[in-house]
């Protein structure tokens, strides 16, 4: 192990000895100085996670959250210097964290909070002029082949648990005591203006949006939604996407335009 790797490993694991070869500027014990530094590193990473996952923290309490986060920091120290990216796989870690097994919805709630952070930092993109969509209506036969490029901040998350209601209850919308955590819910996360919004949608609508986001055309997205709900009506979800500026460009699959390119 290189000196740097040994230093990094000892930073997050108190069981490891102080790396050799350290000197303190004032001649004090390097092991003590290193312990202070190690504590600052770990605590600042736990604080970063607490900032990004406030509802997870509220659901399990500070003490449980900080203990869980500490284990995560030790197991999976940051791979990037950008703190906003730290915690990308925190939800996966929670899913495998045995002490949290009693709260099966916790991992998906963490996924929802992660979606909000990544949506906040996603690139800007201009919304489509509705007139362009209206123009597509002139030839209805081509509609199933239409591709909608969605906003880079848009995320969709389908869950077996009531993640939207649980999250909303922590924003002062609805009472936590009245939420049935075992009710499946899907969330649409998008950035409208400068605000990240969480919108509850049906499982069929979630399949529809996920299909569009993956680059499939409207007809294929309808089929994906139809698997959840035979008589799926896309009006509501299309209205939401358009009104929230989440549709950026449109092109037909037959026109050989790469996805995302502007097409008149």
């Amino acid at each position: 192990m290189s000196a740097q790797a040994a230093f990094a490993a000892a930073l997050v694991d108190p069981a490891l000895p102080c790396p050799p070869g350290l000197l303190a500027w004032n001649g004090s014990d390097p092991a003590r100085r290193f312990a202070v530094y190690r504590n600052n590193v770990v605590v600042s990473l736990i604080d970063a996670l607490a900032d990004g996952f406030p509802v997870v923290q509220a659901l399990v309490g500070d003490q449980f959250f900080r203990a869980m986060a500490r284990r995560y920091v030790v197991d999976r120290p940051p791979a990037s210097a950008v703190m906003a990216e730290y915690g990308d796989d925190f939800a996966d870690f929670i899913a495998g964290f045995a002490p949290a097994a009693g709260l099966p919805y916790l991992a998906d709630l963490a996924r929802l909070e992660r979606c909000r952070v990544t949506a906040c930092h996603a690139a800007d993109a201009a919304a489509i002029d509705p007139a362009q969509l209206a123009a597509a209506l002139a030839d209805p036969a081509t509609l199933p082949d239409l591709r909608l490029a969605l906003h880079p901040a848009l995320r969709v998350l389908a869950s077996d648990y009531a993640i939207v209601a649980l999250w909303a209850a922590h924003q002062g919308v609805g009472a936590l005591a009245e939420v049935h955590p075992g009710r499946p819910e899907s969330a649409l996360v998008l950035r409208y203006g400068l605000d990240v919004e969480v919108i509850g949608i049906t499982a069929a609508a979630a399949a529809f949006v996920a299909s569009l986001a993956a680059g499939y055309c409207l007809g294929q997205a309808m089929a994906a939604a139809g698997a959840h709900e035979a008589a799926f009506d896309p009006t509501a979800i299309l209205a939401t996407l358009i009104a929230k500026g989440a549709v950026c460009t449109v092109c037909t699959a037959s026109a050989r335009h790469p996805q995302g390119e502007h097409h008149d």
């Binding site: 036969a141 509609l143 007809g219 309808m222 509501a236 299309l238 209205a239 358009i242």
Partner: protein
Amino acid sequence: MNQQLTAASLALALGAALTVAASPALAADKMADKEKCFGVALKGKNDCAAGPGTTCAGTSKIDYQGNSWSLVPKGTCQKTASPTSPTGFGQLAAFKEKKA
């Protein structure tokens, strides 16, 4: 669902969706009374957009950076002093800073 039926229901849905989306309740544009103003944010205080290699909000490296913007009330941007701006004021598009 066959292709024709899908086309018909999509036409209905998209038409209705456009109407709903244009209704005042949903169309209340949050940005309507604001504008993005480039070159007026102090270092690290930009709302968003500050060049390659940065991740948006709070990442501008210098005061009055020309490619970082702040959200300001509409109409005030080009009246806000910006020492780095060639016009001497904030601008509605990114610009190259002159020496302040």
